[in-house]
Symmetry: D2
Subunit: 114 residues, 4 copies
């Protein structure tokens, strides 16, 4: 079973699919989970953040929060009928146009954007 179907089954088995998993609620849940992920990194120096996964407790929490974000993102896309992987590759193609390699112009405001 893929992740989308596993999460859909999980929600349906608990009667959450219709009651709680509306698009607005899922956007909020996604946002709250990104907040929890942010909380793990906010006071770290750039170097500490780079080495975050060497601290077993922090690494466990990072994995846990990344999973939560992935869950709500997957659920939201599912409820909206969007294929996340397809949409992601389509966006990469658009970004190839927006940010050609070998571009010699100064780094744009949108530097680092994907």
């Amino acid at each position: 079973m893929d992740l989308r179907d596993a999460l859909r089954a999980f929600a349906k088995a608990r009667d959450w699919d219709d009651r709680y998993h509306t698009p607005k609620n899922l956007v909020m849940a996604l946002s709250a989970e990104v907040g929890e992920l942010t909380d793990l990194f906010q006071w770290l120096t750039p170097e500490e953040a780079q080495n975050a996964m060497q601290d077993p407790e922090l690494a466990w929490n990072v994995r846990d929060e990344l999973a939560d974000v992935m869950h709500y993102l997957t659920r939201l896309a599912d409820k909206l009928g969007v294929d996340l992987v397809e949409a992601s590759f389509a966006k990469i193609e658009r970004n190839e146009q927006r940010f050609p390699t070998g571009d010699l112009r100064p780094v744009p405001v949108e530097k680092g954007e994907m």
Copy 2:
């Protein structure tokens, strides 16, 4: 090529991987993109949000923002060495324990949590 590798190649080809895609920056970028997704839904009624994908322009924007969120989530997990799908299934198993089906207790504070 899978999404993780495609995004990694995209970043490396533009010299963004080392310069911009640090863990803290990617957490912020993820958070900013979730903000753009939130912006699309914030003033919609629950019903309008439910039908968001029937409006072609809104649907296009929703797909675009979901892709952006997926990109930064994938990049962040990649930089931290976390397998997103594996972490997601591991979390589902933990959630099966936390929220057993057939539970007759009153709906907990954490209702709707995954």
Copy 3:
């Protein structure tokens, strides 16, 4: 003592001002606290959210999280040398131009924006 000065003194007394309260860290902390506020509202129906303050425990948590958001917003503005109230009134003036009252055009995409 006003709020800005009280928070500045609080941070300095704990040696947090220079060590942790950098602009990027404070933006992340602000974002994480908005995530905690979002968490309180995400599964509520619109009606439940409207009556949130009638539930003493929820009301206490809402007040607590609003304060946290206000703290980091105030600290961030302070570190950047921005007068929050002055900037807020200046933005109201710009919004008066962007969204004239008595405008008979259809509600714009940016409806509800301030």
Copy 4:
């Protein structure tokens, strides 16, 4: 007129107060605006972020986004009947207990928290 009243009048004059400014919508709007603020800082180095206000265009955008965040935070507190300044000072008092000065224990996980 204070900021809360100015924003309330602005929303009422446009019929936004009842139609759009519900608690859930305002939480989402607050979150989206923090996302726009995050967007301004995400790719900056810590040093660039520290000097953000020396770049006139960036400084203008930072002021603009800080104002937007302040607007929605003020509106949300107003709709919920919370006095932001009072709640903020009450939280400082609680934080004085949680994080005593002169504490010689190792820096806690919650370091930098207010």
